[in-house]
Subunit: 225 residues, 2 copies
DNA sequence: TTCTGTTTGTGAAATAACTAACAGCGTTAA
DNA sequence: TTAACGCTGTTAGTTATTTCACAAACAGAA
């Protein structure tokens, strides 16, 4: 008898879990030991029902009247997302955006780590940037193997993105976060997620000036009486 | 008799329209005058049905057997998204990420334009960065009024984000693209969209190593026979 | 012209995501 | 101990989004 139907979570669920964990670290830092679903919901700008539903994919259960233990909930999300071990990441393209990500990501509380950066420009490689060693592109394959890198971040100009993606795939990458406004063609088993800043901005512009949809704060959803 | 029910489009539809337009400019540059829904779909990594459905919110119709006229389709999307006129944007926080956005955005083919950047650091203001003039924070309100700025991009550290958002709102901003990992509290009529790079990366890490969901390329959906 | 092969536009069906609602439990207070 | 309250886990219901499927339209060939 199967113990449980696998039922892989949706992308949105994973995103929210990641966000919850981030928020929970903040809670923990403030010394709170417990939190209710509606409090977490308010911080994440979702409904409390959504939070409880998301919790169902984790093994962890809160207790009635006490809510969730922050520490255990973090541990639970971490076990779920990271599966116990961290992942090593290569960042390719040390331009403005690449540097931004390197600096924002150093000293992060996730088990993901950018362990190497790469660029074609010889003037900027062979040194540390924000604590991360920069290699010339030629070393990509070798370093990926040495460091057991399984994830890649692509922050190169659009024209170079596909070539870089090919090299990452050849190096054995399993997933790519792509900032170049290009759809990458990769083997079946490589997961790609695109982050297009221009699109994001145009969306904001549209809804800012056409109103309608309201995404932030279901707010006082459960205000009393 | 009402000509048409308004029926505001979903966020996802707007994002896709923005992406289509971006892709169509590329098509146009290659000299193609027409395109089919399935070709555009392949580039955007969605289904052809999705493309046609999205087209329904525009007034424009393609012609059977000829597809869509690229130029007219771009014009149609532009009319829909930009409503005829451009928008002026203020970027706050000239760190690594801010610079990245300034450089990626200069000379873009959208009608959105970053017309001013702001920072608290006196050493980096009062000069051009990637073609954009940088002001000290004190000038925010004045410049916003002068330049008719209605959109803001927040690329400051988390701790400063709420204060910046407050100032932007006071300056009359209608929408904010927020990169700080914080939920901003803003008045009802200000639209906020959050872009959390860490969350995006953790999502990639999860699906890269747990498989399941496949987002890229419905691919050869309509391969013959 | 007429036939053939394709493609669009669109409502209906299917799927996915979210919300509501409530039984059951733990905590607290008498 | 017992009762009352508030929160969680969970299922069912609702809404949003995507895909299907097919009529109508057009171009090209014969």
């Amino acid at each position: 008898m199967p113990d449980r139907i696998p039922q892989s979570p949706s992308e949105k669920t994973v995103e929210r879990l990641s966000l919850y964990r981030y928020l929970l670290y903040g809670i923990l830092a403030e010394g709170e030991r417990n939190i209710f679903s509606h409090a977490l919901a308010a911080m994440a700008a979702v409904s409390s029902a959504q939070v409880r539903q998301d919790m169902m994919v984790l093994g962890y259960s809160g207790s009635p009247n006490q809510g969730y233990e922050v520490g255990k909930l973090i541990a639970s999300i971490t076990e779920f997302l990271d599966d116990g071990h961290g992942r090593n990441i290569a960042l390719v393209g040390i331009g403005n955006l690449g540097r931004a990500i390197l600096s924002n990501f150093s000293g992060q509380r996730s088990r993901l780590q950018i362990v190497a950066a790469f660029d074609v420009n010889w003037q900027i490689v062979n040194r540390l940037i924000h604590g991360c060693w920069c290699f010339p592109m030629e070393k990509l394959h070798g370093v990926m193997k040495e460091q057991d890198i399984t994830l890649g971040i692509v922050t190169v100009p659009p024209a170079a993105a596909q070539v870089v993606a090919d090299q990452l795939c050849e190096g054995g990458v399993r997933g790519i976060l792509n900032f170049a406004p290009v759809r990458l063609r990769v083997p079946e088993d490589v997961y790609v997620s695109n982050l297009n800043i221009t699109v994001a901005l145009e969306k904001v512009a549209y809804f800012a000036h056409h109103g309608m949809v309201r995404v932030e704060s279901p707010s006082r959803e459960e205000a009393k009486v």
